[in-house]
Homo-oligomer: 357 residues x 4
Amino acid sequence: MGNSIGNIFKLTTFGESHGKAIGGIIDGCPAGIKLDFDFIQKQLDRRKPGQSKITTQRKESDKVEFISGIFDGKTTGTPIGFIIKNEDKKSEDYSHIKDVFRPSHADFTYQKKYGIRDYRGGGRSSARETANWVVAGSIAQLILNKINVKVSAYVSSVGKIQMNKCYKDMDLSLIDTNIVRCPDADFAEKMISEIGKVKKLGDTIGGEITCIATGVPVGWGEPVFDKLHADIGKSMLSINAVHGFKYGFGGVEISSSKGSEVNDIIIEEDGTTKTNYSGGIQGGISNGNDIYCEVAFKPVATIMQKQNSIDKEGNRIEIQGKGRHDACVVPRAVPIVESMMMLTLVDAYLINKIKKI
Amino acid sequence: MGNSIGNIFKLTTFGESHGKAIGGIIDGCPAGIKLDFDFIQKQLDRRKPGQSKITTQRKESDKVEFISGIFDGKTTGTPIGFIIKNEDKKSEDYSHIKDVFRPSHADFTYQKKYGIRDYRGGGRSSARETANWVVAGSIAQLILNKINVKVSAYVSSVGKIQMNKCYKDMDLSLIDTNIVRCPDADFAEKMISEIGKVKKLGDTIGGEITCIATGVPVGWGEPVFDKLHADIGKSMLSINAVHGFKYGFGGVEISSSKGSEVNDIIIEEDGTTKTNYSGGIQGGISNGNDIYCEVAFKPVATIMQKQNSIDKEGNRIEIQGKGRHDACVVPRAVPIVESMMMLTLVDAYLINKIKKI
Amino acid sequence: MGNSIGNIFKLTTFGESHGKAIGGIIDGCPAGIKLDFDFIQKQLDRRKPGQSKITTQRKESDKVEFISGIFDGKTTGTPIGFIIKNEDKKSEDYSHIKDVFRPSHADFTYQKKYGIRDYRGGGRSSARETANWVVAGSIAQLILNKINVKVSAYVSSVGKIQMNKCYKDMDLSLIDTNIVRCPDADFAEKMISEIGKVKKLGDTIGGEITCIATGVPVGWGEPVFDKLHADIGKSMLSINAVHGFKYGFGGVEISSSKGSEVNDIIIEEDGTTKTNYSGGIQGGISNGNDIYCEVAFKPVATIMQKQNSIDKEGNRIEIQGKGRHDACVVPRAVPIVESMMMLTLVDAYLINKIKKI
Amino acid sequence: MGNSIGNIFKLTTFGESHGKAIGGIIDGCPAGIKLDFDFIQKQLDRRKPGQSKITTQRKESDKVEFISGIFDGKTTGTPIGFIIKNEDKKSEDYSHIKDVFRPSHADFTYQKKYGIRDYRGGGRSSARETANWVVAGSIAQLILNKINVKVSAYVSSVGKIQMNKCYKDMDLSLIDTNIVRCPDADFAEKMISEIGKVKKLGDTIGGEITCIATGVPVGWGEPVFDKLHADIGKSMLSINAVHGFKYGFGGVEISSSKGSEVNDIIIEEDGTTKTNYSGGIQGGISNGNDIYCEVAFKPVATIMQKQNSIDKEGNRIEIQGKGRHDACVVPRAVPIVESMMMLTLVDAYLINKIKKI
């Protein structure tokens, strides 16, 4: 348990950040999907370290190697096995944490849960794992393309730099025109500047990502315990450093509003509503409107300042971050958020095929 | 899919709000647990309608009837089947919605997904279903009692009446001393008054519930895809009207903070941290500190005001709520939030038993 | 775990033989299926005790009561909850086994596994549970009817009375014309006589059931770990007293044959083979030919003769069966075998819908 | 679905026989297990092609490469990813089957189910996949070693050469002293001779394997739908070419016996029975006695004789086996049968840990 996601389109992963490779198996991908390898790699490149001055300078080519499940460029319906080699493994960067527990990291919990851990680079708890998710999410998107479901995400806040704008008032095609991945150029500049300042201090900062899916037809999602938004929420909360999830149209705090203010009036037979405070989901089932959610990230735990902690023997020690880390994780997390949305949606799509016969 | 929760301690439910009964099966409950039927019923009573002037006046005794899996007052390890009869079924209250789709309700999505629906009282999409969860959650708590894990929840906001206090600064034993279930008497009064006002307007209002689990040992939760907070999040997002979830210590917005501000310094060998911004979970695994989360509810969709919508044929119509509904759902949702936390924790507890041998 | 079967069309059950009721939840039944309640009850009647002189004389009406998931006589896509009350509970018949372990029964294993058991009538280990399976299997058959998949089973041996005939050489419409459910009248007579003799001795006897499914299209079943025949096998081995399973055309022992003797030559474009030694399945996937399997039952463990055993304290004791039991279980097991086949097939059918898009 | 086995100790696999590699992920392996890599490789060597004159002469070194989940030679509780490279890929051997469907092979069913298939060497349907199972089964055995559970299997029949001996009357340490893996030297010789004869004819032959597990404590296996023998049965029926499964003491046909003949009398407080016709399992739960089962294999479908079939367009064609194939699969299948038993047992062991708390 703990290393698989999805019911029908199911991804199971493995790998530590400083082992030979990470990788995964996608089981349940329908047969006959033509794979666009350039698209998959492009998504991986948006996530990979070293892509800009505001990300970690660690270098990984993050080339995915497919091993099975593909024939003549198409999926065969059998499991898709893949690996991504770990290249830039400076394990010595981590020798200083072999016997200590870094604050707000998973060192302590892994050690206590399993009695043993691969401490190099966080091992299994490293966000390097999310490269696997991007591979699977990209394949999910290729399936969703066939029915015109599109997923986009962008950075909507960095620290106290917070846009209070609706996604409809922005041009989402501009997301990748700047290195912070915010479609509003002014806010992007402020965010980049903020990350720079924080980095200079040897500190890190949190942020938020907004994600939108368009074209989702009515009927996806299972009621009661596998509600579409609950599955999206779980997917997002699986991402390293995510600590909050909200769905429903932004700009308004729904939980402090009245029903008369935020009820969505259906105005068209296809389910189109006048407003979309519900974020495209009613009773756990997509209602045909845009799906909309916000994902909150805490600051990266590794900071380049001295902090207190304890070691394995319980002795109090002082620790300072080494290695190459992001001062703010959200720019690189955009394709991860998109991938988790894609994975959740493709699974809901496939499950929904068998609700009526 | 969609009607089960849990991997080891697994609840599967059935039932429509206006059918004969709702009920469920708990599979995977360990053998030999002495059942405290009074406690279970007490939790059901905290959820049931008609309990106070600020809840719906619908009357249901919500008596649970156990059918199997119990012998001499103890669980036998075989599945626990139970039902709760539906008594106060005024189905005629719902004839006006037979062919129409209520705004922000699941009528439209169920109809389109399945091509058929039991429209009476929302059918399967009714929050009546949550009584099943309270039964299972209460049994989960009885197991957790054995290792001194305790779960509490309280109302922390109603509309714009929002406490900005840490749970540590309040006396949680006072939660049930008022009908809104807020441990701060002053805030409780304001919340009750706010709900009364909204009700008079035929309107509804959203709110928030805070939930705390104490005594959880280090090691619960699976890394990567079944992180403890991701599972708690999914459980909470399964509750009707929940649209947001956050874990980690309140009072501070973690996603707009710096690492140096919200990193939790480990100060004791048992994992105790100086602060608890992480909400008791690191890398998806409990770290021995209090688990803390906040759950946001949108306002109840049924309002006693006229709203526009469409009917099954796509004709625009006007609709007005009938029947007996809550103006604010959070007071009754407190035991539901607790139950979802209990269910998630007991499952994590049992799974964790097999991580080391 | 242990009380659910199926991945998409999923049955979860509960109940002890001498509790208030047994029952179950069917999750994943597609919406819009018109239920033929007479057919369901007719299948239950074929399984129920007291139906003829060669079965136990215990009387149970075995009336199924549906609680949810059905509206206007059709399935709604929400879980179908149902119960079957236990009427003829002579619990005193079992007081003599409260503290003893009957030979070849599950008394000892349940006691040791769980530390507690409902000893009355075998509790959860009683074959009464299979009535639940017949309810779900019958609903599965109603779905399969829509695509002309038909399932039949018959008794092919009782003790040493063994037919060595192919199902194609018999008229399967005659199965229910005799109380032993064998389509060959001569063999039926011999089997009935054999059961009578054994019963007079206070003994019991084993037997075999053959099951055939016709009309299954090419493509059902998952390769590798959820092969169609492996799932059918597991379903059959779940039936009380079953200890053997074989698929593939009878009359020939395939495991002692040569490839040149039992390879099935494809002769038509639709996959029709000249012979059908493979029993309609290749590589775990249905190939369009009749599916064929044989299920072997050991004799009922409760005999009316004195046997040695031990009690809870380990003392050696002597025990003799009381109560009302079958001398041979296969006549009543015919609808159970059919139901397990139907359940497995409908699940394979639904899963296969998502292999290509 | 279809590429995973196990609930807690879960193996998910990928790979086609003529792709780059096959491999898998073991999720749920407890932490702290010291891996004996020699033992794992030894089991793989017992399965690999080219090991003796009676097996296929295809050469594969079958070296397993572990990628994750292991640190300092011990399991870490995180997923164990592994691959086995495909070396001796003579894909041209298979060009003649690109557009034709071999009799009693999975060519036709894969093509129809998925609309596309990797035809080289059977692709995913090749028994090469079972090397993955041996890796996982061997790790399972290393866990079982800690509690002295041992699994052995041997060839008990080849074609009409059938031993009718109980495993207790043989010395199981002799299994690997001959190339057919039969502990009785006389029978072994006859079997080897029989396989030789069949091979000369360009034909193939079926056989049977007997498997025994000793040391299994009371209580493993879930009642009702995940009975221990049903799970073992499903595991065995997943092996390529297996078409029959029986559990319970051999030499006697249980389904044609009387209760008084095959009931197992408990004679010791620890559950030891006088006889063991039940094969160590009662009511789906292990009873402390030896677990015993028999697995029947049909002859390999690829024969070196001319056979009729059809091609993709439905034209009747003639086909003759090429490549290097086994004339009898059972000698190499011995470690596969053992592995499936080990996988099933370790899963039952881990699940059983949470039945009582």
